[in-house]
Structure formats: structure tokens, C-alpha cells
Symmetry: D2
Subunit: 403 residues, 4 copies
Amino acid sequence: MLRVEWAAREMPVLKLLRERFERERPLEGLRIAACLHVTTETANLALALQAGGAQVALCASNPLSTQDEAAAALVEAGIPTFAIKGEDTDTYYRHINLALDQKPHITMDDGADLVSTLHRDRQELLAGIIGGTEETTTGVIRLTAMAAAGALRYPVIAVNDADTKHLFDNRYGTGQSTLDGITRATNVLWAGKRVVVIGYGWCGRGVAQRARGMGSQVIVVEINAVRALEAAMEGFQVMPLLDASAVGDIFITLTGNLHALDQVHMDAMRDGVIIANSGHFNVEINLEALAAMTEHHRTIRPMVEEHTLEDGRRLYVLAEGRLINLAAAEGHPSSVMDMSFANQVLSAAYIAHEGKNLENRVHPVPTEMDQEVGKLKLSAMGIQIDSLTAEQQHYLSSWDMGT
Amino acid sequence: MLRVEWAAREMPVLKLLRERFERERPLEGLRIAACLHVTTETANLALALQAGGAQVALCASNPLSTQDEAAAALVEAGIPTFAIKGEDTDTYYRHINLALDQKPHITMDDGADLVSTLHRDRQELLAGIIGGTEETTTGVIRLTAMAAAGALRYPVIAVNDADTKHLFDNRYGTGQSTLDGITRATNVLWAGKRVVVIGYGWCGRGVAQRARGMGSQVIVVEINAVRALEAAMEGFQVMPLLDASAVGDIFITLTGNLHALDQVHMDAMRDGVIIANSGHFNVEINLEALAAMTEHHRTIRPMVEEHTLEDGRRLYVLAEGRLINLAAAEGHPSSVMDMSFANQVLSAAYIAHEGKNLENRVHPVPTEMDQEVGKLKLSAMGIQIDSLTAEQQHYLSSWDMGT
Amino acid sequence: MLRVEWAAREMPVLKLLRERFERERPLEGLRIAACLHVTTETANLALALQAGGAQVALCASNPLSTQDEAAAALVEAGIPTFAIKGEDTDTYYRHINLALDQKPHITMDDGADLVSTLHRDRQELLAGIIGGTEETTTGVIRLTAMAAAGALRYPVIAVNDADTKHLFDNRYGTGQSTLDGITRATNVLWAGKRVVVIGYGWCGRGVAQRARGMGSQVIVVEINAVRALEAAMEGFQVMPLLDASAVGDIFITLTGNLHALDQVHMDAMRDGVIIANSGHFNVEINLEALAAMTEHHRTIRPMVEEHTLEDGRRLYVLAEGRLINLAAAEGHPSSVMDMSFANQVLSAAYIAHEGKNLENRVHPVPTEMDQEVGKLKLSAMGIQIDSLTAEQQHYLSSWDMGT
Amino acid sequence: MLRVEWAAREMPVLKLLRERFERERPLEGLRIAACLHVTTETANLALALQAGGAQVALCASNPLSTQDEAAAALVEAGIPTFAIKGEDTDTYYRHINLALDQKPHITMDDGADLVSTLHRDRQELLAGIIGGTEETTTGVIRLTAMAAAGALRYPVIAVNDADTKHLFDNRYGTGQSTLDGITRATNVLWAGKRVVVIGYGWCGRGVAQRARGMGSQVIVVEINAVRALEAAMEGFQVMPLLDASAVGDIFITLTGNLHALDQVHMDAMRDGVIIANSGHFNVEINLEALAAMTEHHRTIRPMVEEHTLEDGRRLYVLAEGRLINLAAAEGHPSSVMDMSFANQVLSAAYIAHEGKNLENRVHPVPTEMDQEVGKLKLSAMGIQIDSLTAEQQHYLSSWDMGT
């Protein structure tokens, strides 16, 4: 399909790995169940896994993020894909189970719904699994909690924690595409707007940086003291969300947590504000509380719900609180998914080879793999860098040369 | 002294800890030998340690960085201080040995010259030592090499690696003060200049960010692929130093490594360029090679050496390649040293209490200590932040709530 | 219509003026022919003019920029609107003539096609015209040339040159929406891309600033020495377009001139580059030359034409070289059109009142009108500012108080 | 002198003009009285005028800004220079009169003290004057008021209003050097500080941009609605000074007006704030009111006055409210003075040639002169730019090519 081809154009690292996989077939005979956003970039990932010898089955990791034409292209390429944009929760879980029906050796997850469904409802499949990978901060948090509770039954590679993933995908990918989603949904001018960024992890940093880059006045809300200090030192205003609620024009949640934006905050907001979520799950905004507060409700533009409260104030919630970059735009640009998915395919190959030797916990991506992805990407961008001289390597490993 | 008082005004966290130490006396009866830049901020650190019950002796960690009036103020306060601005290498090491003559229980280091001198020349003192702290990236690299070689004979806390240290001191402190030093030395306009930042660690990031903030066109040189990619994604030009040498106006080394800027690079530079170092040791620029290339030499402004080469090109080296922010300006602003030194005094108290139980290697600053420094600083800046609700804490530790 | 209402929400100044016009009817009995981009914002402008007593007829100022639903909403509101998205050149001019058939007293133009058609083909209408307004830099350049040649037969207010228009609309409006259009058309990641901005007027500044804000490495091309210097001092790379052609990833023209991007430049470009225009007319890219160079041609995504050249290089031209923000996105955000159109309605009222006394040339927007728009906008944004004290006003008008 | 030579190194345009003047002697036989900041850059200006054939006499335009070694170097070069750093007001005016005693044909002014003294006290000299030049916004405001009152008795060229002057000197020069002055005086960390910029003209923009570039949270205070809107759209906080007074850490005045920062504002400030002026005259801060509010007073660092008020709050005023960049740092970097002074020498030559034909009012720098300075500067920076093709020039002057 043309759109998948267009995405491929910006995914040179994945293309290179796909060519290598075609020669080396590191996934020969393995079945992979992948629960990911079904986009043109994911299509390229699935094709690379397939080229490596795997049988891949795909389901959506979010009910709103599926690009139906990407799904169609995958099916055409012989990859079963269970996903329809806008599917309801029942269908969502049915699709996950259909993917699991393939009896996977490897799971590939984006938010850990596949892993948790498997551990909860499909324990008969656990014996066949070698290992898994996880794409998101949210998923890594969940899996770490599972491992801590002794509940995780196979090793998972935290692809999210690779430097070439979270420093780029979470920061530059989420940063750009969150603003893109809100712009497409609303066509607001960013310049001069007071934008409240809730959560200053790598995603929040990206959004704060891009909103400033568009001329907004950015206010950061954060619960971690060191991160809050960093935000302040970057020149952002930092304050509790309740204070920010009284002045903000646009609110964006990226916390990975429940009800980051709660009733008390919505009570304090001004007429006409815009509220969006860019965290993985649609739990960050307390939509139940908002529903209870709402007197009238209408869809004023696609993806824009107007909630008129009893006191006449109107709050505009985007995409029903689902992650805005996938719901209202096209998700992360291909160029950044290139690196994330390069880590995915290398991690899949690593599990195929080493999974039997790994403990049942969350493992980091090996450093050399991380550096390799970085080098391939630089080279694809036409950028060359220096390396250490022998003299310099010696200097770094010595401790007796001082002032 | 008024200047020490002025610095104290911007060091509210250290002031608070000093008051706590006066009450709790956690360092009662301990001798501390500290090898640090002898500045007004360090004076406040020494007074806090003294307030905690310690006997402190101070020597300089760099021959050019001593503020003589700070040294005088310390002596007046009863703290032996062995440091004179511009001292030669012999005097430098004699001063280190004078500080060691105090038979310290704790060493406090900035670059590891104290630790390495002690291990090499004063092994008789090792038995009395409980532990040490180290302030810099350079020192941590040296100490880690020592530990790896089995040569480190007591535990050292890597104060440098505390988030509230390196994310702030290295980035915002070095960033601002490096430009400040170069501005004071040269009075150049930064806007429109091509600034080559060699090394994109935390210090290099700070300098690149500030140079851009002053209107410069920034070129980054880096050997680590992931860091190089980050620099490119931040919109900086990234290239090998040899290419950058042909176009740069101002060159700044921050690598912690030997001869980062070497003869081959100076051969390629244009007439009139400015060269400075902001790494810990004066080894980053190959000054011996430059001396051999130089036909005429004169000091055209204080801290500015003009090297006229055989082909007529003039290269301007600042502060003889010593770290420019301390040599030509006043070092890091007090506000940022406040956090670094809060980590120092808390680490000293930690060693006093726990040092006997620690292995002879490099240890991180405990996370709670790091968060405590962050909280105190935020509060001193008049910034309040939110904390997690019970519901949110529960959510983060659970793994069974999904889409 | 909901979308027109949504736009109105971000146009508080226009709303206020519409209410004033309803009371004061300053345009009572006048016919206005307006040739503008037919968007939801323009719909609000037309409704305000109608509220002031005018009979308005609308036609499109660009064949690709019409939002068909906005046109439908206008017709429903009793405003004849001649515009269909994607109309061909014949239809385009037929529509202009249909608007002129209304025998306007006032013309409202965006690029001066209405004025030039009227002077060339419909001279019988000139006698009835009191005056006109012009929205764009391009139009003001054309009208100034007409006036210089003695060809302009009625006075025109250069709305474009109001500070509250070009400092905002051209800079922040074009800046944001140009990137938005390219993002929607291509979904490229901006971070790390080399973006070549051709033309550093107010539009070009906006685009350069926003591209930097998105993490791009920006290269500016400009023919005016002072503007080129400003770009350099802002830290942008500045070079001739031929040099930039060899390194750029994305090229954007905003010059108001013919063939700013010509065959010689396309000859020098690398495989895979993206080319877009954000100037008023589709003449800035030499598309005829490109067509002659192209061996294969296909539409790879909507608005993205792939040109494969004989040597195998592929160039991607967006929206057939038409202004990208209107063709591929929604044009300027309402918030910025609010100010431009506030100037339009005030200028229309000014012509109604003063037009008979104005010479047949291009006139500036009166300063007080400009400040009034500024004050209304600030107030709508909830921003208060200070004013001069009597003492200060006196000081500014005196010359005898010195050192 | 070495420092004058160092400045010359960054003033390539002035150097080129000096060489041209040596050949062409456009100022042969003319006497010039110049009232300017006596710095190493001004020394280079005076030498260029001398090379053109003029007899130059110099006096200081500010009691605190004189660099005594620059004055000494000028005297040595045969240019009478009446200026001592820290001179009192009587001496200041005596020095102005000594410069006037040279019976100038041309006056060169920086703030209009020379012109106003001459018109008030030395009217006998008016007959001999051909014309003058003025360097600053403040001076142009004063001279325009004089001309409006019919009091100006000879033509003056507003060098300040040349694009190559105010867009660079006021913005990049004042921006950088104001922060530099405050840093040298206080060594504060800019990151995280709330910086209140009072006045958003070209100087204020420069300071706001640089403070943001250093990581500060910037608040803009402005009385002009359009400028205030621009500041808001750039993402700055905009508010009345009284509101800003309650939250700011550092206050900087750049208004050209009296008591921009008044008692009511100082009443509202928090303990420990820093106050500086970077406008031309020391009238922008109401120091008389502050003196009346002050209970204790001491100099805590050079250039830093601590005012302890009755309620215990301490306000720190820098450099007695004189323009901070010249008082505490070295004034504008040479590179930017290069352009301002290139305009000065070209304007002096223009007056020599054309002054007799000019009306007694304030005149702009001719556009071609402005572009010439721009081109020379670009070329000195090694930057090449494009020029219009014949086809493009034709297009711009035509009005009949449309859509």
C-alpha cells in the first residue's frame, strides 16, 4: 500500500534490519502475537518480523488508534490483523484473544494488555512462551509491579527503556504528535496560549518543549521534586494543578496515572478550556466526574466534545480522553518509530536466541543493541561522528594522571 | 566577609542544613580534608561542615580557580586553607599534602587529586579514613577506574551522580558560567557566532543550550551515537571535529578526555578563532602541539593568549586551557552550588554514620537524599508541587487495570 | 454551522465589532465584493460586515483553499458565495466576475486578483467604487506597482501592513499553519530535519521560528542584506539557495516572487526531499521546469506528488505548489484571523466614511485603529497592561532633562 | 593599545571604512565633537573619523561608562578626550563644554546631552554647525521633541533608526551585555529566575530573548498594546508592573522613560530582589523614593547596593541605576558596535557632503547606506546571499500576473 511505502521511506533503520533478517532468518518458525497501535509504521515492523521467519498476528493496543487501511494492507500481506478503528471494549478484548489464539512464542506489547490478559485468562498458553517485549512506560510500570508481586511468568524486554526508544519516541515523537493531534482536532493557535503540561517525564518534556516552540506559555505540573526543579530551571512555570487550573487554556495529561486531572481541577477551570490526554490509557482525566458535572453535551467538531456545566462554563474534551496523537492525528512520525521498532525487532531476535536463559522479570535492552540502533540511524541521516583514539581510551581507563 | 555572605544569600538549602547541623552535630570529632575550588560557595560549605562538628582543612583543586579573598575569610573563620590563585604545580601538590597532614577521616574531592595523591604517596593515612566524596564527572571516572583495578582502598560517594547535582550543576552551572568566562575574557558577541561544543554530556548540553540561547549557531561534536543523535534531534549540527574545525568561530572542550582538540584540528582552523576548555583538567586541548606550531606569542587581554602560527593564522587560547568558568569568571553561580554542596554535607554525614558498612568502591547518593535536596530547593524558590493521592499510589502498584 | 461557531469562539474581537456594527450600521446600503479564502473565519467576517448593513458577495482568492462547508453556511446565511474547492482557473475567474456583478462599492481582496480583474476587464464598475482593502503582502506589492504606474483608480487600505495584521497573521499564523499543512500532508518528524526557509519576511520568520521550535536545523535563504544578517544573528544558517539545495531535507518558499525555487536548485537536491510553497501564488516553485525533469509521476499520499527524475532521485512536491497551509490544513488559526479581520471590518467602515477623501493609492491602516485592535485582543486574552503617567508623558515630550 | 586592537579585530566593517576614508578623506578640515561612551570601540570610531581628515574631540556620554585606558589610548593618538570613569555631574557637563570648545562643524551624540547643552548654553556655536548624528532611541525621542517644538537648529541623522543599528545594537548588543553586566555584578544563576523586563522595545526584546535563552521565566511589562500582544504571542507572561513586582526576582528597566519603576512597585517587591537599569539615563528607577524608604544601606559587592527597608526587606540596586551593561560590564560587544559606528562614520561623511541641503529636523539614515553596512558585515562574516534575477525584478514591478 502507498501509505505503508511512504512510512517505510522514513524508516531506514528498520529497512536495513529487514534486509538482514531476510538473509539471517533469526525468527524462523516462531509465532509472535503483537498488541500494538495498528499504523503504517507497525505494518513495516510486522513485515520485518515476517521477513525474519516469524508468523505474526496483530491486534490493536488502543480502540481508537487503528488506521484501517494499514490493517487492510497487513491482511493482504498475509498477517492476520484483528483491529477496527473505534471498536468497543468487548471487541477490543476479543481481538486480543484472537491474537493469543495463535499460541505465540513471543508477545509484543504496548501497554501490557496482552500480557495481563494472558496471565489472567489464558494461562494455558504460558508454557509455550519464551519471552516478550514492551513498548511503553505505562506497560513497563505495570510489568514491574507484576514482577515485584511474583506474578510475571516469563521474561520481558523493556524496549521502552532503551535510550534509542524513550529519549526519542517519548520525547520527540509524543512531543510533536500530541500538538499535531490537538491542532487537527481544534485548529487553535498555540502562540500566547497558557498550556498546562501534567507530568514531566520524557513525554511531558517533549510536549512542554514543543508547546514552547510554538509560542505557548507553558506551565508544568509534576509530583517528583527533581523533575519539578528541572522544569523550573528550564524556565517553565511550575505549580500545583489546582493553581494551574485557574489560569490554563489547554490541559494535557501525560502521567501514566489515574485521574491526574480530577473533578476538583475541572471545578476550577475557566470557560472554554481544552482538555486532552496523551498518556497511554484513557484514565488520566476523570471522565466519570465530568459526565456527572455536565448539563448539556454535544460534538462540536470531530474529536471535540463540548461539556456545558451547570454554571454555564464549557469544557472541551478531545477524543474522549484517549491518547490524542493517535486518535486525532497519525501517531508518532515514522522516523521516530523507526528507532523504537528497530529495538523491537532486535529484541525479538534476542529473545529468540537468549530468552530461555533470562529470569522472569523485566530486562533492559542490551547497551550494544542500543548503540547499534543509534549508529544506524545517524548513518541514515547522513551524519558522521568521531571515535576515541587509542590514547584517549587509555586515558579514560587510567586514574593516575591529574593536574 | 561580604562576598561569602552574598553567596550565602543564594544558598538557602545549605543554610538550612547548616542550622540543622548546628543542632545535631553529625560530624562531631571528625577531620575532613577537602580539595575543592576555593570560592565563596566553598567557604559556605566549609562553614556548614564546621557547624556539624568537623575540623576542616581545605586545599585547591585547581591552580587557577582560587578566590584569594575566600581563602582569607576561611582562615579567619579558623579553617586552615592551603591555596593561592595561580600557584604552580609543585605548590599545588604541596598544598594537597598539607591538607592531608591533618590526618582526615573523610576526604572531599573535586577531580580525585586528593584521593590519588593519598593512595600513591600517603598510604600511611589510609587506615584512618572512613570514606570520601567526589564532586565531578572526571573524578568519578578516575575513581571507577581505580575501583575496577582493585586499587581503591575506601568507599567514595559519587556526589556528582546525584540527580540534584549533575542535572543542575553540570548543565545549568557549567552552561552559564562557561559562556560567562568566555565573555569576560573576550567580550565577543555570541549572536551569529559558530560555536563548536566538543562533548555532549551534561556539561556540553548546558553549554550548547546556552550558546543557542545567546543566538549562536551551535555545532556539536560527540563520540557516543545516542548522544550525537539527541544533539541532532535538538536541531544542532553534528559533525566530526575535523569538519567543524574548518567552520567554527569559538571552540569549547567538555569531554573529560585527553587532547579532545588536537593538532590536526588546529591545523584546520581559520584565522582568529577562540579556543577554551571547560572540562576539569587542562589536558583537553593539546597545548604542547600548539606551542610547537606557534611562531609568535603574546597576551592580548588578560586570559587571552594570541598564538600566531607560521602561516600567519592567529589562534586565541583562553586561560591557558584551564577550566574557563573558574579561571575567567567566578565559577558556578552560588544557587547551583547550593544543591551540589547540600549533597556534599549530607554525604559527609552519611559516611560518618554508614561509612564503616560500605564496600571500597564508588557508591551512589541515596535516592531519598536526592529527593530531599530537591524538595528543599523548590521550597526555597517558593514553588509548591502536588503529591500522589492514595488512589494513584495504588494504581501505580497494580497491574490489572487496562484499557 | 458548528464549525463556524467553533471559529467564532476564538474570534472575540470580531464578535465585539459585530455587536457594535449591529448597533451602529456603518455599512448601511453598501455592497461589498470580497475575494478571500473561503473559510470558517471568513464566514465570521462576512457575517460581521452583513451585521453592519452591507450586502456581501464572496468569491475564492485561491482555487484550492475553499472549505466547502463554510461556503454552504454562508449561502444559507444569505451571502452569495462563489467558490468550490479545487475549481479550475476558468471557474476561478468566472467566480470573481460573478462577485463583481454585484456592482460593489467596496472591494476586499487577498492577493489583488479582484482589483486587477476589475481594472482589466470590468472598467465599467470603477465609477461606483469608493475604495478597497487588501489582506496580503503579495497584494500590497502588486497594488503599489499599480499605483506607481498610475493605474490604480481608487484608494486601497493595506490591511496587511497594520501591525496587528502582519506581525501576527504573517508570523504566527503562517508560521504555525505552514508546519501544520506539511505535517498533515506528510507526517514527517521535524526534529533533526534540515529545513530550508526561502524568504525571511514576516512569513518566513514565522516558519523559521516554528521549525526551530520543532527541533529542526533551519537554513535561511534571503536576498535582502539586513534581513539575512538578522537571520544569522538569530543563530540560523544563512546561505545561497544553491548551497542549501545540496543539504536540505524540506524546502519552503515564502518570497512573494516568481521561481524562487528554480530548476538549478532542483538539479542540486538530494533524493527524497520535500518541497512546499507557503507564498500566496503557486508561482514560487518552477513547476514547469520540474515537469520537464520528471520521468515518472504519482500521488503517493493526498497532497504529495512524487516526481522521479531521470537520475532516479525523487522529489516530493506538496499541494501542487499552492499555499500549503490552506491546501493541506485549515489555514491560519481563527485566533489570528480575528485580528486581521478586525482590521478588515474597521477598514471597511473607514472607507465607507472617509473613502471619498482619499487619494487613489495604497493607504496605511490608521495607527489608532491598529492600537484599538491590539487593546481589544489583549483584553479578550485576559491580559492587562499599564499606561503612561502624566509625569511620564511630560518627560517623553520634553528634551531638556539629561544626565 | 592592545585592548583597542582587540576590539578592532571584531570590527571589520569599520576597519574597511577607515581604509576607504584614508584614501578619500571625506572629512578633511572638519571638526567633530563627539559625546559617546568612551570605550575601546569608540576609540576605533574616533580613529576612523581622524583617518577621514577630521579633528575629533571626545567627551563621555555617561559618568560611569568611561574605560580609562581607552581614553588614555585616544589622547596618545592625538584625540583630545575629556572623560574619567565615575566623574560627578559637574565634571560631566564641564567635559561636554570642553568638547564644544573645539567649535565643531559636526556633533555626534549618544543621548542628546551634547545637542541640548549646545542649544541651551552655547548658542554662539550654532552658526558653525553643519549637522549632527544621534546614536540612541532616547536621544532620537528628545531631538524629535525639540524639532516638534521648533527648537532644533540644525539637521541630525538618527543613526539609531538605521536597521543595521537598532535591529542589532539595541537587540543583540543590549540583550547580551545587560545580562553580562548583571552577571558580573551579582554572579546569580539565571535559570529558574523570574525576570521582569520593563519595556518591550528593541532593547527590551533583546533582554527578554536572552533571559529566556539563559533559562529564566520572563515577565514583560509594556504600555503599547501591539508590543504587549507580541510579547504574549512569543510566550512571555505579560502583566502590569504592580502584579509583576509581587513575583519577580530580577527587574530590568529599558523604557527610555522616567520612574518606570516607582515607589509603589518597590513597596510590593519581595525580600532579596535585584533591580537594574539598562535604559540610557539613570532616571528609570525612582532612586529618590528608594532612598526615602531605606533604613540601612551598604555596598555588598562592587556595583551592588543593599537597601534594607523598615519592614526588613532588602532590595539590591545595581550600579546606582546607571545603565548596567556599561557600568558593570564592557558595554556592547565590538562586533555589534561595528555596525552602529559604520553608520556613524558614513553619516558623518553624508553630513559633510549634504548637510547644507538638509532641513533642521531629524533625518533617517539613507536606505542604501543601511544596505551597504549590511552587505559589508555579511561579507566579513563569510556569508554569501542571493540576489534577484531579472525575471524576478520584473515580476515584482508588475501587477497583471495573478492566479
